[in-house]
């Protein structure tokens, strides 16, 4: 159990590649924090700095109020689950789990007990005597998790641990990881670029972009009040629609936009918030032609070209609406569903639209 504190953490690779540009973040004891961001934004680099696999160019890293900048990975009391699992191919599953304990001089009986406990928890007991290459992808993933948790470290670090699994297994493991973390209450830092993992797994979500933090908050805060246009379009699928304020004013929405801050020039609207049925309250109305209708099981996506705008717009409806491709129709938006942004700064202009 430990808290992790990152202050002004920076990483510059040879050739002046600034992978991480000053990160401030505090992870409380027992908290589950998810790091999300596009490819190349420095997620892995940041995680590896915490693990001690990458040197820290600048800033301080504290684990449990102890500065660990210059400590070896082994001295930081963390465990890491790698994307490719990094299981030792020449050792059995038992050997893989026991390796870290042996290196730390844990007694034989204690090793046996802990390995069997972890194996039972992850349901990998039948494979203890097998070599990793004789396991399926999902089983290997469990072994990799097991290797992290037998050590009973003060923090878990995960680098996209589920990205090599098929969709079904990924959902199952996601739920298991969450339950496991709830049970063990071990501080965890989890890197992913998967939307669902980002929104469902953590207590808090950190959105990274180009080596800097865009937003930190609970997943729902981030989803409901994205702090920047980047976060707005990155979190949520399909992505949020962005429309110029001028365009909405032209459509006669003046009265409904008055409460927005003066510097607002872009409005974000989630695909779910463009409705086909008109609500009772005052609302905006836009007209568009349905270019493409996509039925995706429980929900449907409409790709619409709005009248007088060249911005492609996506709408998500829950059931299968009676809509035909090529049809021109009206869409309704409640003022409370508008996300105001400033194009130049890319930031949200007003805290709280209600």
């Amino acid at each position: 159990m430990a808290s992790i504190q990152l202050t002004g953490l920076k990483k510059t690779y040879a050739g002046n590649v600034e992978a991480v540009k000053g990160i401030d973040l505090e992870i409380a004891d027992g908290e589950f924090v998810v790091l999300v961001g596009p490819s190349g934004c420095g997620k892995s680099t940041l995680l590896r700095m915490v693990a001690g696999l990458e040197t820290i160019t600048d800033g301080t890293l504290k684990i449990d109020d102890r500065v660990v900048n210059d400590l070896e990975p082994a001295e930081r009391d963390i465990a890491m689950v790698f994307q490719n699992y990094a299981l030792y191919p020449h050792m059995t599953v038992f050997g893989n789990l026991a390796y870290g304990l042996k290196n730390r001089g844990v007694k034989r009986e204690e090793i046996e007990r802990r390995v069997h406990d972890a194996a039972a928890m992850l349901e990998i007991e039948p494979f203890l005597e097998r070599k990793p290459r004789k396991l399926s992808g999902g089983q290997r993933q469990r072994v990799a998790m097991g290797r992290a948790l037998v050590r009973e470290p003060s923090a878990f670090l995960f680098d996209e641990p589920l990205s090599n699994l098929d969709a079904k297994l990924r959902v199952q493991m996601r739920v298991e990881i969450k339950q496991l973390q709830r049970r063990l209450k071990t501080t965890s830092l989890y890197v992913t670029h998967d939307q669902l993992e980002a929104l469902t797994l953590g207590d808090r979500l950190v959105v990274l972009n180009g080596g800097s933090i865009e937003q930190v908050g609970t997943p729902m805060e981030v989803y409901e009040k994205p702090a920047s246009m980047f976060v707005a379009t990155f979190i949520g699928s399909p992505a949020m629609n962005m429309l110029p304020v001028a365009y909405l004013r032209e459509r006669g929405a003046n009265g409904l936009l008055d409460h927005l801050a003066a510097d607002t020039d872009v409005i974000g609207i989630r695909p779910d918030d463009l409705r086909i049925e008109a609500p009772d309250e005052d609302h905006l109305v836009v007209t568009g032609t349905v270019e493409l209708f996509e039925a995706a099981g429980a929900e449907s996506h409409l790709y619409v070209s709005l009248e007088g705008s060249d911005q492609p717009t996506v709408i998500r409806t829950s059931a299968r609406p009676p809509v035909a491709e090529g049809e021109t129709m009206r869409f309704h938006v409640l003022p409370s569903a508008l996300h105001p942004f400033n194009q130049a700064s890319g930031k949200r202009t007003q805290q709280g639209v209600s």
């Binding site: 693990a51 082994a74 890491m80 030792y88 191919p89 290196n103 290797r147």
Partner: protein, 294 residues
């Protein structure tokens, strides 16, 4: 399984293309090998006037000959010494170079050079370095209080030929070890580091076991090299001496046959060597079939 098939315009062209290789194999390998087999069953009298068929008597005599048994043990010491030294040094160098980032290429190029040198030249080089009267190493050893003389001391001579033979083979081993090291995923080493293994322990418990296919392959190659390809090294340095101390099997074939003119015995020895080569080659091919052993 589908195989690639090539259609030639005429029937004899493929045979014509193969002919040079077949001719070389016939003239330089199959014919001498059959001659050796045939000779090994014959014995000439002292004047080379009469040749009699003696069956396996040449072989039987060899195993009663203390000189031959001495050559067997000298070969064993030489082969083991050369293999251990060249592989040990190569692994050390490969592990060191593997940690470098920018200068890796230039070091690799430099370390490969010795391989391009003929064994006899390597022998002469080491003969100079270790020359008891003008060499640099005996001079330094003298200062340290050791009188190096491979002309009188059998163990000095053995060390000299081992150095010379191993030195030439380090390049080859180095390249294979480096390739082997580079094929080990970095994340395994990182996982071991997080699992609390010191660099030394990481090497012996993760890297070395994962290198074992390479190590085994190189072991066979090096033993074959030490036993058969080192004629030049021996000839240029000790010529089997002093007192037969470095007279390894392959050198003894030459010494008995071409210097001692005992053709029957020499042929029998080369047949035995041939058998050893066959065995080692089989081991190597069996192994290559199932490359990974973990």
């Amino acid at each position: 399984m589908q195989t690639k098939q090539m259609t030639f315009p005429s029937r004899w062209l493929p045979y014509a293309l193969l002919a040079p290789q077949v001719a070389i194999t016939l003239v330089f390998f199959l014919w001498p090998a059959s001659q050796a087999l045939y000779q090994s069953l014959l014995r000439q009298d002292a004047f080379g006037l009469r040749t009699t068929f003696v069956g396996l008597d040449n072989f039987a005599r060899l195993f009663d000959d203390p000189g031959y048994l001495n050559a067997v043990s000298a070969t064993a010491v030489f082969a083991v010494g050369t293999t251990l030294l060249s592989m040990g040094m190569a692994l050390l160098l490969a592990a060191t170079v593997n940690r470098m980032l920018r200068s890796r290429e230039s070091y690799t190029t430099l370390l490969v050079w010795p391989y391009a040198i003929a064994p006899a030249i390597a022998g002469v080089l080491w003969w100079f370095i270790f020359n008891p009267s003008i060499g640099i190493v005996p001079y330094i050893l003298e200062i340290l209080g050791y009188r190096w003389n491979h002309r009188t001391s059998g163990s000095d001579a053995m060390l000299l030929v081992i150095f010379a033979a191993a030195w030439k083979q380090i390049s080859y081993n180095f390249l294979f070890f480096l390739a082997g090291l580079q094929s080990i995923p970095q994340s395994l080493i990182e996982a071991a580091a997080i699992d609390g293994a010191s660099p030394f322990k990481r090497f012996w418990t993760i890297v070395f076991p994962l290198l074992s296919p390479t190590t085994f392959f190189l072991m066979v190659v090096n033993v074959v090299y030490a036993m058969f390809d080192t004629f030049g090294v021996i000839h240029a340095t000790t010529q089997g001496g002093p007192a037969q101390a470095t007279n390894i099997l392959v050198y003894k074939v030459y010494a008995d046959g071409f210097v001692g003119l005992n053709l029957g015995s020499s042929a029998a020895q080369s047949v035995i060597l041939m058998a050893i080569v066959v065995v080692l080659t089989v081991i190597q091919f069996r192994f290559i079939e199932r490359r990974v052993n973990y």
